[in-house]
């Protein structure tokens, strides 16, 4: 049973113009992402990984090349791809419930069903009791959970995460990673996750895509799903069972870290 190609990135490049100078942010990236795969993009800062993610989201257009979602070219943002930004980017004037409901309001879903969906994610993200709170009344970690719930709520085919936990402290980060895996096991999502943390990449990903420094291109794709369990199998397991063991983790981290360091040295 060969998994289908969900997302195809074909020869995608992106140039920016800054002070009359052309900066190549992303250069000829090719990648095929299968349905329900968990892809993690790692690379040195400024390597264009966020740019690539924003192109998949449709927020910016590639200078050349194509991004195909189930064979159809991506030309703009859409609710089939939901993005979680580095900042929680919640609307401060909406309560927690209303923030989560925001994306749903754009879809043709009855009010009752919307409330059900919102409640489901409020429970899943441990936000019960805070439905009527405004974002500024929540801790940073809770704000992130609301932000993630908002993205889950629209039930996107592809979930894009742009260093979503970068601003969190170490403990909270662990908790959020676990929550993410839990949710991913329960829901069906294809995930593209950007991080600069090698540990996070190994912990979360089926495949780790290592990017080179600018102009960002793919240096190598490391399939670590074999070291853990295959995606489809992981889905039936409990969180602690999908966790990678210490013996598997250490060499992987060394390998990835070496690759990353090569890109950081001059």
């Amino acid at each position: 049973m060969g998994a289908q190609i969900k997302l195809a990135i074909e020869n995608v490049s992106k140039d920016f113009i800054r002070n009359d100078e052309i900066i190549q942010a992303v250069f000829e990236v090719n990648m095929n992402i299968k349905t329900n795969e968990f892809i993690v993009l790692v690379g040195p800062s400024g390597c264009g990984k966020s740019t690539l993610l924003h192109m998949v989201a449709g927020l910016i257009r590639p200078t050349s090349g194509k991004i195909l979602l189930e064979g159809k070219e991506v030309v703009g943002p859409g609710p089939d791809r939901s993005i979680v930004f580095q900042q929680s980017a919640l609307y401060p004037w909406l309560t927690v419930s209303k923030n989560i409901e925001f994306g749903l309001a754009e879809q043709k879903i009855s009010k009752n069903e919307r409330i059900n969906i919102v409640n489901k994610y409020i429970t899943m993200m441990g936000l019960k009791g805070f439905e009527k709170a405004y974002p500024h009344q929540l801790s940073g970690g809770m704000q992130h959970r609301v932000s993630i719930a908002r993205s889950y709520a629209v039930n996107p085919d592809v979930l894009l995460m742009d260093e979503p936990f970068a601003a969190l402290d170490a403990q909270l980060r662990m908790v959020m990673q676990e929550e993410l895996i839990k949710a991913w096991i329960k829901e069906k999502h294809t995930v593209i996750f950007v991080t600069h943390s090698v540990e996070e990449a190994i912990y979360l990903g089926d495949k780790v895509v290592m990017m080179s420094r600018r102009p960002g291109r793919i240096k190598s794709i490391i399939d670590i799903s074999g070291e853990k369990l295959l995606s489809d199998e992981r889905r039936h397991k409990q969180v602690n069972e999908v966790m990678i063991t210490e013996e598997q983790f250490t060499p992987l981290r060394a390998k990835l870290w070496d690759m990353l360091r090569e890109e950081m040295d001059d």
Partner: protein
């Protein structure tokens, strides 16, 4: 010297300057160091204010003056706040609209409202409309300027998020830009309100320049100037200050009600 305990001092402190000034002022006047025309004492001003409630000055009692001022203020201010915010938002939203109107307002904004008096009379005659117009000009520019900046200052990520969820331009305007900008919008209206209220005296100087009839606090001050009633003048000034403060408190309260997400 024995001072009151600290906690009492803290309560008194804010009033010390005002109270001392009032006491010195009262004493200076009571000792006849200056003529009451140049500086009437505070107690006399309060008494005069009270008397004006029953005795008409310049053809109207105090309540009528206050009401007349509020009426022209609200007409001018409300129209200006609405038009200014509306146009400002439109200019902030559309680069094209902005480029059409911006040069005009870049110049208009430096013309003081008082300078409009002659034209206000020419266009509207010497009545309520002309006076409201002067007040409106004062309130209009800050409302416009703030709302124009508001739209530009909104964090683009709010719009990106909405786009990701497939929101239309219309939804983005009503559900994202407007609530995101509301606090700043109200701030602009609030500044405009202060300036508009301060234009009151100028505006009312063009009510009827006779001693017979005419209503409003500015008119009260003008007419008292001609009769050398310093106590009425200061009383009128004081009332303008106090009412201005009350209006400001009201709009701050409105902001709290309209923007409950702000602490």
């Amino acid at each position: 010297m024995v001072l009151a305990p600290r906690y009492i001092m803290k309560k008194i402190e804010p009033f010390i300057v005002v109270l001392s000034l009032l006491i010195i002022w009262e004493m200076v006047s009571a000792l006849n160091l200056v003529s009451p025309i140049i500086l009437p004492e505070p107690s006399k001003i309060l008494k005069s204010l009270y008397n004006m409630l029953f005795t008409p000055v310049g053809g109207a009692t105090l309540i009528v003056h206050v009401w007349a001022s509020l009426e022209k203020f609200f007409i001018g201010f409300l129209v200006a706040a609405f038009l200014g915010s509306f146009l400002g938002i439109w200019m902030g939203w559309s680069k094209r609209v902005n480029s059409v109107f911006a040069p005009f307002f870049e110049i208009i904004r430096f013309i003081p409202p008082v300078a409009w008096i002659s034209f206000a009379i020419l266009w509207f005659g010497m009545g309520l409309a002309a006076q409201s117009y002067i007040i409106g000009i004062g309130a209009f520019i800050p409302a416009l300027e703030n709302s124009r900046q508001t739209i530009k200052l909104i964090d683009p990520i709010y719009i990106q998020v909405a786009r990701v969820f497939g929101a239309s331009d219309r939804t983005i305007f009503w559900k994202v830009l407007l609530p995101a900008g509301l606090p700043l919008l109200i701030a602009g209206v609030r500044i405009g309100m202060g300036i508009g209220w301060m234009c009151l005296v100028a505006a009312e100087m063009i009510s009827r320049p006779t001693l017979l009839g005419g209503e409003g606090l500015g008119y009260l001050i003008e007419t008292s100037r001609m009769t050398l009633r310093s106590d009425y003048i200061i009383g009128g000034m004081l009332l303008i200050g106090v009412i201005g403060y009350c209006l400001d408190v009201a709009i701050r309260y409105l902001e709290k009600v309209l923007c409950p997400w702000r602490r």
